[in-house]
């Protein structure tokens, strides 16, 4: 099963490689990983999407906890939480499809952040379902390039851990 795990870590050099090295060294999957500083620049927050059976996920959580630079591990999958990912997608529609692209971008609350004669670059933010749906719709129209941030996740307020 897929799990989203957030890590509160020391904001030091080498922490990212400790975390990613743990996954590669022990043969765990890593589907996406994002890192950023927290309000306190001493710490950073990571969000990792991984998959495995229950025993593997338990090991991943424990192994992450064991890293000295990792202060807190939360497997948010087990709690009510919000996940978001952002993508930037460059579309090359045929002229007769341009209106459809703009229309769909609107429905998905995307933003056109760049356009040229033949391309639109659209920013979309959302959970996995929404992102996948949008990519699915754009595929037949023509995707030139796609970049994604990987997921970030946060617990809903009032959720006890």
């Amino acid at each position: 099963m897929r799990h989203t795990i957030t890590l509160f870590v020391e904001n030091k050099f080498g922490v990212l490689s400790r975390v990613s090295g743990l996954f590669s060294g022990r043969g765990y999957n890593i589907e996406s990983l994002s890192v950023g500083e927290t309000i306190d620049p001493k710490y950073a927050q990571m969000t990792i999407v991984t998959s495995g059976d229950d025993l593997i996920i338990e090991q991943i959580n424990k192994q992450l906890n064991k890293l000295i630079d990792v202060i807190k591990v939360t497997d948010v999958t087990e709690f009510e939480h919000v996940e978001r990912e952002m993508i930037l997608i460059k579309i090359t529609p045929k002229p007769e499809k341009k209106a459809e692209v703009l229309n769909l971008a609107g429905i998905f609350r995307g933003r056109i952040i760049d356009s040229s004669e033949n391309t639109y670059t659209i920013e979309i933010t959302g959970d996995e379902k929404k992102i996948e749906a949008f990519i699915g719709l754009m595929k037949p129209i023509g995707i030139k390039e796609l970049v994604r941030t990987g997921k970030v996740a946060i617990l809903r307020e009032g959720i006890k851990k």
């Binding site: 080498g14 424990k62 890293l67 202060i71």
Partner: protein
């Protein structure tokens, strides 16, 4: 007053009570070595190879329970420590390894003797540091010692760029320190412990499997109390050897691949398995799905990742074995009414039967020296009052099987990594910890050649370390597998040239002795162990056809054991495939 990083390092090590550093000099650590030139409180022990230095520090730590300290130069000095560090990591041994590094300005430039040792050792240290600011140095050293020695111990590496050791700062030693992301849990969960007690009371056929964690937490008394009170037989893993007396009636010896028949049988038939400070290594479990098929499992370990990593567990208890056992024993004591002897009677009878059925044995001979005979003799002559280290291979297994260990920290062996070349430098380290004890490395002729240069270290430091080489002219354990599973095709396991170990020893100003017949074994041992007061190589030319039994083939359930066929006395002709 501001002092240099090198001075801060030495002062910090003194604060930690360090007496010995095992090390080797080089360019970027020259200024640290210069500090040690006239240093009185700390001795730098110059080994002849950095790997030897780490194993020596490791042997010191295993024998004494105190952290071992290593100091080497950057680049090749640092990379030479890797095998030693990985060896310590696998067996949870506290080490602080200090490596020199090129100046911070040059890091990343492929400078002369630059190696990214922090990157290289990340997966085989408990934690590691690159110190970039001399003001951080004292705190980092303190952290390193805390991390190395607490929780599940392990090696910690500190990489020190040249400019950091030259730079100056105030020396501020933090007496206490909080490491935010590091909170080992010592106390076991009370409710879980009471569950465990309940299961012990209900069980008829319980067995304890005790590992290295019992040695580390010094829980041998608590273990004995539990075993005797609840009448539970105890098997000790390779790392746990000595934490329960092997001369005790309830002792089953070692389990697993080369474990005793009765230990493996007991595990497979048990209705309750109490795993203490052990991690269900594949050499212990054999085929994991078929391991202890009828047993509920209680697992006590200080490292949460050890629990449910390899086997299912019914009662997981994260905590220090000593603390957990003292609570558990208390609970059991209040609830027990002297019923145990009755409850366990049938089970202990069964265990006795297994012991009688197939004791550890070998075919004796008065023509050729049997390696097992040498180990038995060592036990007999020392009466078990020695620290035994081992190399890796058959020598290691025979040392585990045919000597009876009654005290913790008297059997020192590379369990997890299985590092050939470990035993001799480890014996040197152990001898530093206990100068007056008899320290014996039981070795193979292959392994001893991997760190043979440390003879110089032993001689120079007047350490009377004894090495009993079970010389079979082969990489014996590999040869054994080739004989059993590869149709006797001895591909590259015959050591065509084995040096004359007597001469090697003498050339280093140590003593050398040789036995080629069974009748010479005892005289050589008496002379080597008790008369000669310097390092000794004892070359026992043993029957090369001997194999370690019982043996569970890799991947088989642990009760599928191979045994030695009773053989006629005949030295097979060497069959060598070139």
């Amino acid at each position: 007053m501001k002092i240099t990083g090198a001075e801060i390092l030495i002062e910090s090590l003194k604060k930690e009570g360090v007496k010995y550093i095992f090390g080797y000099p080089g360019g970027v650590v020259l200024n640290i070595f210069d500090m040690l030139y006239e240093e009185k409180d700390i001795n730098l022990i110059l080994t002849r190879h950095e790997q030897g230095a780490v194993h020596a520090a490791d042997g010191y730590a295993r024998a004494s329970g105190k952290p071992g300290v290593v100091l080497v130069t950057s680049g090749p000095g640092a990379t030479n420590t890797v095998t030693g560090i990985a060896t310590a990591a696998m067996d949870s041994i506290p080490l602080v390894v200090i490596t020199g590094q090129v100046p911070t300005m040059l890091i990343g430039n492929d400078a002369f003797q630059e190696a990214d040792i922090v990157g290289i050792t990340r997966p085989c240290t408990k934690h590691n540091y690159l110190v970039k600011d001399v003001n951080e140095l004292a705190r980092t050293i303190k952290e390193a010692f805390i991390i190395a020695t607490s929780g599940r111990p392990g090696p910690v590496l500190i990489d020190l760029p040249k400019d950091v050791t030259v730079g100056k700062a105030e020396f501020v030693w933090p007496e206490k320190l909080d490491i935010e992301g590091y909170k080992p849990k010592y106390e076991g969960n009370k409710w879980m412990i009471s569950q465990a007690a309940g299961m012990i009371e209900k069980s008829k056929k319980a067995v304890i499997v005790a590992g290295g964690g019992v040695v580390i937490s010094a829980a041998h008394k608590e273990l004995k109390e539990l075993a005797e009170m609840a009448q539970i037989p105890v098997t000790t893993t390779l790392m746990g050897i000595g934490c329960f007396p092997e001369t005790h009636k309830l002792s089953l010896g070692m389990p697993g691949m080369h474990g005793t028949y009765y230990a493996n049988k007991a595990i497979q038939e048990a209705d309750l398995l109490i795993a203490l400070g052990m991690r269900f290594d594949d050499r212990v479990t054999g085929k994991v799905d078929a391991f202890a098929p009828n047993a509920s499992i209680i697992h006590v370990d200080i490292d949460p990742t050890s629990i449910r990593k390899n086997v299912r567990v019914d009662v997981p208890i994260v905590g220090d074995v000593k603390k957990v056992l003292s609570v558990l024993n208390k609970v059991l004591k209040t609830e027990s009414k002297g019923q145990w002897t009755q409850v366990r009677k049938a089970w202990l009878n069964q265990v006795e039967q297994w012991k009688k059925e197939r004791p550890l044995s070998y075919t004796k001979s008065d023509q050729v020296i049997k390696p097992q005979f040498v180990v038995e003799k060592i036990y007999e002559l020392t009466r078990g009052d020695a620290i035994i280290t081992t190399e890796v291979g058959q020598n290691q297994m025979w040392a585990a099987q045919f000597y009876k260990y009654d005290k913790p920290r008297t059997f020192i062996s590379s369990g997890g990594l299985g590092t050939m070349g470990f035993g001799f430098p480890a014996a040197i380290g152990a001898q530093f910890a206990f100068p007056d004890k008899l320290v014996i490395d039981i070795a193979g002729d292959g392994s001893i050649q991997m760190n043979i240069q440390e003879l110089a270290t032993a001689v120079l430091n007047k350490l009377p370390v004894k090495v009993a080489i079970l010389n079979n002219g082969f990489l014996g354990m590999v040869r054994q597998w080739q004989e059993l599973f590869f149709g006797e095709r001895y591909s590259h396991t015959q050591l065509d040239i084995v040096p004359d170990f007597v001469k090697v020893a003498e050339s280093y100003q140590a003593a050398g002795l040789r036995a080629t017949k069974p009748s010479e074994v005892e005289p050589v041992l008496k002379e080597g162990l008790f008369k000669i007061k310097k390092p000794v190589f004892m070359d026992f030319q043993v029957d090369w056809t001997e194999k370690v039994f019982p043996m569970v083939p890799a991947g088989a359930p642990i009760d599928h054991m191979l045994f030695d066929e009773p053989r006629e006395e005949k030295q097979k002709k060497l069959k060598v495939v070139k």
